[in-house]
């Protein structure tokens, strides 16, 4: 189970009290921060995200509404005496931007900061025992990248009655969970399927960043549990969307339909729209299980 907290959801200029993009994805005891618009450190405090659990920050691209809050967050982590290493994933030039700021203030961070430049093509960029994170390029006005977070395949569950029946010693439970068969002392083979039960599937979340409508992206997140897709414009402004390498809510819904996502979240709303009800309607008419990514709400994946 993953928890996706929307810290902010606006595009470009902050408006209607909607600060620009930032999301916090909780997987077990880790918080993965996705984008970091101006004011994200204040939103982290406001929505009680535990900053000490943020060890990985993923920046999709270097338009300000996606990263102008990063240097403030890093600096505040330093001032708070953080000692745990921090990993930043972003377009390669981001490293230079961070360093210029740190040099300007003669800042020595009290923690190790590792910078990972995004790869050119679909690749796994980090993993731990619980989750793996993949990165893929999307088409926007400047280099831009989306991310897929996949819980690792969960081990099979032991069938308590079956192991009792076949008298399987406890020491074999680990290999049973990995899917292996059990061989009795008499040499009989008991198939794994008789002794274990399939666990729930690992969950997955895709953040497809700022992107033009591009069905070819579906290959990266087919069958994903939640797809977050930008929805900068309404259908009325589709020309503007295409021209500026953004998408409409209807196009986001078409992608969700094509990639067989279980649920769609819309975000990155243009400051031209105050009421987002109609925008949501344009999406649900194509893909029913759609919601607006609302600031302060945590969506369970």
């Amino acid at each position: 189970m993953l928890g996706l907290a929307i810290l902010a959801n606006n595009s470009a200029i902050p408006a209607f009290d909607r600060p620009p993009t930032a999301q916090a994805l909780t997987v077990a005891d880790q918080v993965f921060l996705i984008d970091c618009g101006e004011g994200t450190q204040m939103q982290i405090v406001r929505y009680k995200i535990r900053g000490s659990r943020i060890n990985h920050i993923f920046i999709s691209h270097l338009h300000g509404d996606h990263y102008f809050g990063l240097i403030g967050l890093i600096t505040s982590m330093g001032l708070s005496g953080r000692s745990v290493p921090l990993h930043i994933y972003g377009p390669s030039i981001l490293k230079k931007v961070i360093n210029v700021h740190l040099e300007a203030a003669s800042t020595n961070l009290p923690f190790q900061m590792y910078f990972h430049a995004h790869p050119d093509s679909f690749s796994k960029i980090t993993e731990d025992e619980k989750v793996e994170v993949w990165c893929f390029p999307v088409q926007h006005r400047i280099p831009c990248y989306g991310f897929v977070f996949r819980e690792k395949k969960l081990p099979r569950k032991i069938d308590a009655d079956a192991v009792k029946l076949y008298q399987v010693p406890f020491s074999f439970f680990g290999s049973l969970q990995q899917g292996k068969d059990y061989t009795t002392t008499d040499g009989d083979i008991i198939e794994n399927g008789l002794l274990t039960i399939k666990n729930t599937e690992g969950r997955s979340y895709a953040f497809s960043a700022d992107t033009i409508y591009d069905p070819s992206l579906c290959e990266y997140f087919e069958g994903v549990d939640i797809l977050y897709h930008e929805s900068t414009y309404m259908k009325l402004d589709e020309d503007k969307a295409t021209q500026r390498f953004h998408s409409t809510s209807e196009q986001a819904a078409m992608i969700a339909l094509q990639c067989k996502a279980k649920r769609l979240l819309l975000g990155h709303f243009s400051s031209r729209y105050e009421d987002l009800t109609e925008m949501l309607g344009e999406a649900t008419s194509v893909f029913e299980n759609t919601d607006l990514a609302l600031e302060g709400v945590t969506y369970l994946v």
Copy 2:
């Protein structure tokens, strides 16, 4: 008359809903922005400051709580289609920081941006018909600068009864306002003091930035109408103040007393203090006309 709007007043890490330093000083139809901590563009909208009147931005130093909101503000001005030139005054390295951000996003601002590096010693850095702005270096951990804003000397007022009595033609009023005497057609000299009245003095505001307690600063703003002085710490933490090149509220009050300021405003509060009442008390016991610089309040100078 000047109007000083406190947009934010905290130091270092934003806390207790107090974002870091930013002030907007209104002189006639111009708004001078002083420092620009993270979130300043949101505070400008919140407190209804007219962004189109901000043509000059003064950055005291490159600790993040004083300028991390600058690039966001500049970018948003561009996205809003600003065409009027913008002047930025700051430590020389700030120009590099801004340019790195603009290059990262391939941003072409639709307005001309002029960068003015702070001078090494007390100097006038800009002026118009109404006001002049002076800059002075202070002692902090990194290069840091304060500013004095002085309304220009107002012209003398015509004494309506006197000019009637001495039959001064209207065409001479301009030179009378400049303080010149009037010579009659008979060659008699009427002294200016008989024909005009002294106008109210031009007002002045000093922003003394982040600084260690330093009485030598007084020469830059003697007799100022309002002195804003940092007050990061309380007396209890005076050692910490000195060590970190900051001041206590009592020290700020001592400076106000020594420079014969008419009023003192305290700001840049450490996140360690939630209630600021005692801090204010420590200052008023030295210099009575002291107030906390409260977010959202406009102080008339």
